[in-house]
Amino acid sequence: MPDEPLLRVEEVSKHFKVRGRTLHAVERVSFELDAGQTLGLVGESGSGKSTLGRVALRLLEADAGRVVFQGRDIAKLSSKELRQERRHMQIIFQDPLASLNSRMTVGAAIEDAMIIQGVGTRAERRKHVDELLERVGLPLSAGNAFPFELSGGQQQRVGIARALAVKPKLVVCDEPISALDVSIQVQIIDLLKDLQKEMNLAYIFISHNLGVVQYLSDRVMVLYLGEVVEQGTAQDLFADPQHPYTRVLIDSILKIPESSAERRPMTGLPGEMPSPFSPPVGCPFHPRCALAQDRCSAEKPQMRAVADGHLAACHFAG
């Protein structure tokens, strides 16, 4: 099939049982992602972004729905097939130090990715490790260092090198820059962008930093309480946000005002996200929404197109 997307997620839900209660982490989320494209996932902490990213890689099993990767339903793969398929789908973590083995040198950690996937001979793997180190901007000597001997930015470069060692097609970036200094964030973002172009990678980029998402993403999905409230191309969504939640998120981006006319009071979002154990009836956002009316607490808004390829789940959108 020529127009089959690299990754197709259909109506995926994920629930966790916590002490007898059900936590609705992800509710009926669908999206498609083509090779070389980036999907940005934004939302507050606890909105289900990371869970969705892990479900897409089958690091967590979906409770409902399908995840189709390269035309194959990954839930139907045997564990051996899945392990082989993992070569094409990788993940970069928020905390690179926690994701690396502190008893393995950086070079060994990157090489281990290739060993696991049975790639190349020993000499080829070593050579590829050096190439990767160079490509992600680490000195060759870093291969002999242990992860904790490196700075946070360098550790994240190791995480990237390891994920790319097996030449994946899809990489889930789970808040890869949230733990880094601002100056380092820019370097890592540029690196990710360059690598995407070179290797035709598809990214699922999870972040609560909207500026970065806008910069990197082709399409953006806004999650609230595990549900998609708005999705569209990055351009449309940031230029013309339709859902009140998206608007609040965009308004909360801190910009340095260039003139006194641009100065405006900061508008935060009142309250906390409701408990995912008992999501509100009707629109999940209505308890905090400035536009909410009686209808919002009774009737759940459906996703509908407000423009070509731009969908929002709000009664007042469009």
């Binding site: 690091l59 993992r86 926690a98 994701s99 083995n101 002999n144 700075s151 470069r157």
Partner: protein, 296 residues
């Protein structure tokens, strides 16, 4: 530690691959007490093996004409009330002490590792069961249990070794369970899973190297602990049955006549104390040396 993330900066000086063992040894060498302890422990091990051959007398040989003698050239550590040569007795004791200490620690270790791994990896009911068993072992006075077991099964090498071993596993089980539990759901394992690693690969390359060092240190601390328990059994009269020599027996026997024949106490107690300290220094040194964050 934080090196600027410029490509030109060098994180390490030498480009060759560093071996974990080599670096651990370098760190170990810095601690002179640990090195001294290691020398003593190695000496102790060698004597444990060759002691019976170099001993000038048999541990059963008695010389009533020369009983209760102070140190002389003939009997450099003196003789006891039956005329046993103390030097030979100590050489023989080292072997018995080592056999029991290593054997018992090995039994505890194997039982503890198996139960701890099972509890940590399986979780749920298995974890509950093992941990209640561990609680029981900790709450129960194990020395008392050792006495019961030795009384029941006799005072030979085997029963004592078994009794000390079977009562000492709880600490190892608890340690390895907590280590495994902490890593099982961590991002390190998740990252390895995402790379497509098998359970076996994750165990071998990720979990095991991270628990091994702690286990080695626990082992090194466990050996002097078991030596002490073994001596303790002798002191209450339930240790190795004489004439099999052991440090505990000699110390217990000398206690009754400390003022008259103090050398009977000095030599075995002194050597035993130094041995315990040596093992502890080694364990301490290992703890520091095996931590990769300990520097170079």
């Amino acid at each position: 530690m934080a090196v600027a993330s410029m490509p030109t900066s060098s994180a390490t000086a030498s480009p060759r691959r560093r071996s974990q063992l080599g670096m651990a040894w370098r760190r170990y060498r810095r601690n002179w007490l640990a090195v001294a302890g290691l020398v003593w422990v190695i000496l102790f091990l060698i004597i444990g093996i060759i002691g019976p051959w170099i001993a000038p007398y048999s541990y059963q040989a008695t010389d009533f004409l020369n009983a209760n003698q102070g140190p002389t050239w003939q009997h450099i550590f003196g003789t006891d009330n039956l005329g046993h040569d103390m030097f030979s007795e100590i050489l023989w004791s080292v072997q018995n002490a080592l056999e029991i200490a290593f054997g018992a620690t090995l039994i505890s270790f194997v039982v503890g590792v198996i139960l701890g791994l099972w509890a940590g990896l399986k979780g749920g009911a298995a974890d509950m069961f093992v941990m209640r068993l561990v609680d029981f072992m900790f709450a129960f006075p194990t020395f008392f249990m050792d006495l019961i077991l030795v009384t029941k099964f006799g005072r030979g090498m085997g029963p004592i070794l078994f009794a000390i071993g079977i009562t000492g596993w709880a600490g190892y089980a608890r340690l390895i369970r907590s280590l495994v539990l902490g890593m099982r759901n961590g991002e390190m394992v998740e990252a390895a899973t995402a790379l497509g690693a098998t359970q076996w690969h994750i165990m071998r390359r990720y979990l095991f190297p991270n628990v091994m060092n702690s286990m080695l240190v626990a082992l090194a601390f466990g050996i002097p602990g078991d030596l002490t328990v073994m001596a303790g059994l002798s002191v209450v009269g339930m240790g190795l049955r004489p004439p099999l020599p052991s440090f505990g027996n000699m110390i217990a026997a000398a206690g009754g006549n400390m003022l008259g024949y103090p050398w009977l106490m000095y030599f075995p107690a002194g050597i035993f104390a130094i041995t315990l300290l040596a093992f502890l220094f080694v364990a301490d040194g290992l703890q520091e040396a095996l931590n990769p964050k300990g520097g170079f």
